[in-house]
Symmetry: C2
Subunit: 291 residues, 2 copies
DNA sequence: CTTGACTCTCCAGCAGCTGCAGACTCTATA
DNA sequence: TATAGAGTCTGCAGCTGCTGGAGAGTCAAG
């Protein structure tokens, strides 16, 4: 009995050859058989050996193609069972849309990565804590939310809660990458100048693309800012007082709201505390000497 | 003993609160603890309850951020252990490149999907088997390879082998989506006109973008082609003879090589055979009547 | 002191494979 | 025709990053 010539004469391939011919693993072929996705053309009852018809490569092509489109084997299975070209076309059209949104996501990811890289660079050149400067800052876009409660009074827990709420709102808008955006908080000008630390707004800084995210986006116009740098959240208030003092001594007029900008925040290493590099700032103008 | 006030006084959160505050599942937090990625600030020895410091949210942010960049927990873990900002920056730069190539892949996928959709449309309006026509066909780009052996003589197995070799070559060049390209084969003009079916080249059809893939790309110039449609690979030779006959009767001069174009190939349904819609074709010219 | 909400550990499951162990089976050569 | 060496079989475990469940213990409020 020439069972072996039987199969070879008919041009059937054992599983290994079939696998090689299609650049697929043997395990994969066995799995597909098990799931009924691609049954061998012939199975030897004695040995249980699987033999494939080379023409089954075509079916395998499709399965691999659909897999490359990230479909599940279950979906592929039902689609192939239905035997309806229209369904397949529908699937492809849906796939197309899905790929679009994946590309958008990828783009967003890339932006996020670039922002983080940029933050690290900026961290590298950050001035020493306590440095005071007068800087021109270009216009910025912020996406803001009123603070729920005054974290200056209620402490870090309250601050984190505010962050959490902001994050949820951003998530709804499809901005999940909080880490890669710079956070900021503000105190109203009248409160600040009176020495009252009452948190007003909490927000993220972004570029012009932020405008795509609707109504809560506003603009901080460009201008001269008095700034002080520090690296610890706990020191904010004393440093803010230093800033105020500086403005008064220099006879600067504090114009806008007080802003605490979290320029970087890397907690790669210390898992207890937010490691920050902050820039406290307030826009100033320079009153002419009595004319 | 006021153990419970102990934890709350220190501002520690039980796992559920921590999970909610960060929009993460409890299970995830437990997993991170287990892997040493984020250990609770305090664990009650009696009860085993985990208590987190709200400030640990920062560390969690990073982990989630890196996860969104599709890093494995193991990679994140080693990166965080190293405590080296430069390594993190390197990682981000690599990530950036990776995202680029993912975008390219996605684009290729989309092209593939569109080509397949287009094929289905074309299949819908395909003429009946046996239809003969004279058509103007615009210039086409092909990426070709000489046939290893003559599948007209050695049959389907040899044909599939040729496909396999072509596929491997395409794969090297980064064109994995064979299914979505149209396949074609050619017979040299002198062989064809003499009635000898000797496979010459095997190739895929593409558009101008194919040129990006190097030296094996050539152009089929636009022109008038005599064509015959059919839907079964096995009928190729008799149909090709019909085509030849037609050209002779019409007194057309067969100019270029004979081409068998696999316009569509859907094996969604029959797992034994390639279901095809073929267009056999040869470029023709029209000799003037004796002047 | 009870009730109901939390939390603990441990285990199973997901998808699409890969890789093992231990037992057969094929094929080519001696 | 014996045998070596390659190929194949089944069945199970493992991978990743979670999710969900069972059964037991714990916490906070009334």
């Amino acid at each position: 009995m020439d069972r072996e010539s039987d199969t070879t004469k008919r041009g059937l391939l054992p599983i290994g050859k079939m696998a090689k011919a299609n650049s697929v693993s043997i395990g994969t072929l066995r799995l597909y058989d098990q799931l009924g996705l691609l049954s061998p053309a012939y199975i030897d009852e004695q040995s249980g050996y699987r033999y494939y018809d080379i023409r089954q490569s075509a079916r395998l092509d499709i399965i691999r193609y659909m897999r490359e489109l990230d479909m599940t084997l279950a979906d592929i299975s039902t689609l192939l069972e239905k035997e309806d070209l229209t369904l397949i076309e529908d699937m492809l059209i849906r796939k197309n849309e899905q790929i679009y949104s994946q590309m958008r996501e990828l783009k967003a990811m890339q932006d996020a990565v670039n922002r983080t890289i940029h933050s690290i660079e900026r961290y590298r050149i950050s001035p020493a804590s306590g440095t005071i400067s007068l800087e021109f800052i270009d216009r910025r876009f912020i996406l803001s939310m009123p603070c729920r409660d005054n974290f200056y009074e209620h402490g870090i827990v309250s601050y984190e809660q505010n962050i959490h709420i902001l994050r949820s709102k951003l998530l709804e808008k499809g901005i999940p990458q909080l880490l890669s955006y710079n956070l900021g908080t503000s105190v109203k000008n009248e409160d600040f100048t009176a020495g009252r630390f009452i948190a007003d707004q909490i927000f993220i800084f972004g570029d012009k693309h932020l405008r795509d995210y609707g109504e809560n986006v506003s603009i901080l116009e460009s201008g001269m800012y008095a700034c002080i740098y520090l690296d610890n959240f706990d020191d904010e208030i004393p440093f803010a007082h230093k800033l105020m003092e500086y403005c008064r001594k220099q006879n600067f007029q504090m114009e806008g709201d007080y802003i605490c900008e979290e320029m970087t925040e890397f907690n790669f290493f210390d898992n207890r505390q937010r490691n920050m590099f902050l820039r406290l700032q307030v826009q100033v103008s320079f009153p002419k000497n009595n004319p």
